[in-house]
Every structure is written in structure tokens, then in C-alpha cells.
Amino acid sequence: MKRLFEFIGFEPGRFHARWISGSEAQKVVETAKKVTEEVRALGPNKKMRDDRC
């Protein structure tokens, strides 16, 4: 899915997919931090922003 998103012009780093078990609290925290940092660096998303009617 990530590959297809990037193929149609979403920036790499806009989407993340991680498999995290319920017992991996540290991994949740690290992933959330990483996603936030990367997406913040990219700025607001410009694609698929038309209003839904």
C-alpha cells in the first residue's frame, strides 16, 4: 500500500505501517515519535484534500 501511495505521488514517509504487539509499549512510543517527526518535516499533506460532500 505504501508503495502504491508513493507511486501516485505521496511523499515517502507520509505513510507508515508497523506491526506492534500489545506488549511492545516501547515500540509504540518509538514508532509514534518517528511518524510524528517525519510527517512534521514533510509539512501539511496536499493530496486528496477536496472537501467531501
Binding site: L4, F7, G9, R49, R52
Partner: protein, 317 residues
């Protein structure tokens, strides 16, 4: 003559009641068009033709008879035969209810390319192959078409000129003589993020949401389609860039691992959107990630995205 072989095969199938009807090609409104034709009785067999423009994937039409205990003969080319394999693997239509009439194919002529240089407005009469040329006889005269210059794009990368599955093969088997290197997908992949975004926005903007790409697709076989539902309204019906992008991404994903790359979706698009390129991107990724073949090409290979191996790549861990 292939046409005669098709007629005699279909006649004997109907006479011996081996099939209830046969789906083949009939003459269309002009020399470059064929019409899916359903032959139920021996008297109707003369309607069948074979043409270098016989592009339609006829396997789709068995889906109108899903829950009937009926045996259907279908004329398939190599590309279409992959659809038969997938329909059987997905248990959409049982193999024993198919009678597959395979036709080896060196490539189908692209009507739009030919019409640019030749007059196709006459009615189709017949055709003969003369070396690398195809001579199409029409009611407005003969046209000599150099085959290699006017093939459908998909035919230049055809890896299955002979059907992969058939009950009877009409004609000599043709060994694979081309390779698919996914040039079209690679060219797009090599663009920058902005260029890719601009290219696809321009394509998706054109979409009028007619759903022809879905309707023609042999992998689209859900009884209730997500795009038809009003409640829940999974995808907006408005034809704007966002909703169109969502539609095309979802459509591509819903047939991922089942799309046989027959190219019908791109062909039927009235707006000229390269719909099939999205599926080809997914097929290329699947091939790289899971070392598989194009779905339907190898009858031994099961569903690509419906099976698990412990050595599958796990990029998301």
C-alpha cells in the same frame, strides 16, 4: 483457416450438447471492432468470426451465469486464459463448467493506432496473414497492416502467446517470444515525487466514474461492490480529484493478487486513464517481494496475497 476451425469446433460442441452456449467474437460496427457474441444454436455459428482486432476478454461474461448449472464454451487468447485460471482458483466459476477454446495469438492490432493511418470504416469481411503483414479485407477495400507497428501496447510484452489452460487448442502452439520488463511502470517510478503526483492528478482528474474499468474486469466479481453502496458510503460518489484518487487506489487494491494484467480496464476507459498501470505497479511489486508470476499465468500457483510463507519479507516489523 482459424475461422473455419472455430465454427466447426463450436458446431460440434453444440451438436453433442457438450456446452449450453459459446462466447465468441462476432463482427462489430466497423472493421476494427469485434462484438462479444453468444452462440446458443448451431444455426447461429456463422455469426462467429476471428479477427486480428479480437481484443475483448470474454472470460468475464461467465459471471452472468454464476449460480446456474451450465456449461459455457469460451474462446480465449493467452492473456484471457489467465482470467480463466483465476476464476477457477477463486472458485467463482468451476473448471468443469468451462469449455475453454484456446487460440494462440501473436498479438492483437490496436484499433486506435490502425485507424490513425488506415480507413477502418468498412465492415469486416476476412483477413489473411502475409508474413509480417496482416491483410484485412473490408467492404471498402483491402488494408495491409504491418503487424509489429500496430499492436496493442500489452502485446509487446506478452509472455503467454499460447493460452495457459484450454480444452482444445485451435492452431499451432506459439512459444513465448517476448518479455515483460515493466518499462511503463519503471519510467513512472523514476519521476520525482512532484512529477508523479502531477501525472496521476492529471489522470484521475479526467475520471467520470463510469466504472467501465470495474465492469469489464474479470477479477471484479463481488456481488455487492463497495463503489455501489450508499450505506455505508465507503467512497464518495462525487467525481472530484480526491474521490477519484480514492476510487482508483481502492479499485487497484481490490484486485491486487488477482489481476491477470489483461489490460481491459485501460482499453475500455473512455477518458484514456492508464488504469492498468496501477495494477501493473502492484504486480511488479509482488513479483519483486514474493518471487511470483503474474496471477493466472501458472495454474499451480495459488493466490499471491492469500497465502503465507515464513520467509515472506516483513518490512513492517
Amino acid at each position: 483457416m482459424l475461422k473455419e476451425k472455430i465454427k466447426s469446433t463450436v458446431s460440434s460442441l453444440l451438436e453433442n450438447k457438450q456446452v449450453d452456449f459459446v462466447i465468441g467474437y462476432g463482427a462489430g460496427s466497423d472493421a476494427g471492432t469485434v462484438r462479444p457474441t453468444f452462440v446458443k444454436a448451431v444455426e447461429e455459428v456463422q455469426e462467429l468470426i476471428w479477427s486480428p482486432f479480437a481484443v475483448n476478454n470474454l472470460a468475464k461474461y461467465v459471471m452472468d451465469h454464476l449460480y446456474e448449472n451450465i456449461k459455457i464454451g469460451v474462446i480465449v487468447k493467452g492473456c484471457d486464459s489467465r482470467s480463466v485460471v483465476r476464476l477457477v482458483q477463486d472458485k467463482v466459476f468451476p473448471r468443469e463448467n468451462f469449455y475453454v477454446i484456446g487460440v494462440p495469438c501473436k498479438g492483437i492490432l490496436d484499433k486506435n493506432k490502425v485507424a490513425r493511418d488506415f480507413d477502418l470504416s468498412g465492415e469486416f469481411v476476412d483477413f489473411v496473414e502475409q508474413g509480417d503483414n496482416v491483410v484485412v479485407k473490408t467492404t471498402k477495400g483491402d488494408i495491409t497492416i504491418p503487424r509489429e507497428k500496430y499492436l496493442m501496447d500489452k502485446c509487446y510484452r506478452c509472455e503467454t502467446p499460447t493460452p495457459v489452460v484450454y480444452d482444445v487448442l485451435l492452431g499451432e502452439e506459439i512459444a513465448p517470444f517476448r518479455r515483460d520488463n515493466y518499462e511503463d511502470v519503471k519510467n513512472l517510478e523514476s519521476l520525482s515525487v512532484e512529477e508523479k503526483s502531477k501525472y496521476w492528478d492529471k489522470q484521475f482528474e479526467k475520471c467520470i466514474r463510469c466504472y467501465a474499468c470495474r465492469n469489464v474486469c474479470s477479477a471484479c466479481n463481488c456481488r455487492d461492490c463497495v463503489f455501489d453502496m450508499a450505506e455505508p458510503n465507503w467512497v464518495g460518489k462525487a467525481a472530484n480529484l480526491s474521490e477519484n484518487t480514492a476510487f482508483h487506489l481502492i479499485r487497484a487494491w481490490h484486485v491486487a493478487g488477482r489481476c491477470v494484467d489483461c489490460g481491459e480496464c485501460s482499453r475500455v476507459c473512455p477518458m484514456g486513464i492508464p488504469v492498468n498501470t496501477l495494477n501493473r505497479k502492484l504486480i511488479k511489486d509482488m513479483k519483486e517481494l514474493f518471487s511470483v508470476e503474474t496471477p493466472g499465468k501458472n495454474p499451480e500457483q495459488g493466490a499471491v496475497l492469500g497465502s503465507f510463507r515464513t520467509d515472506d519479507p516483513e518490512e513492517f516489523m
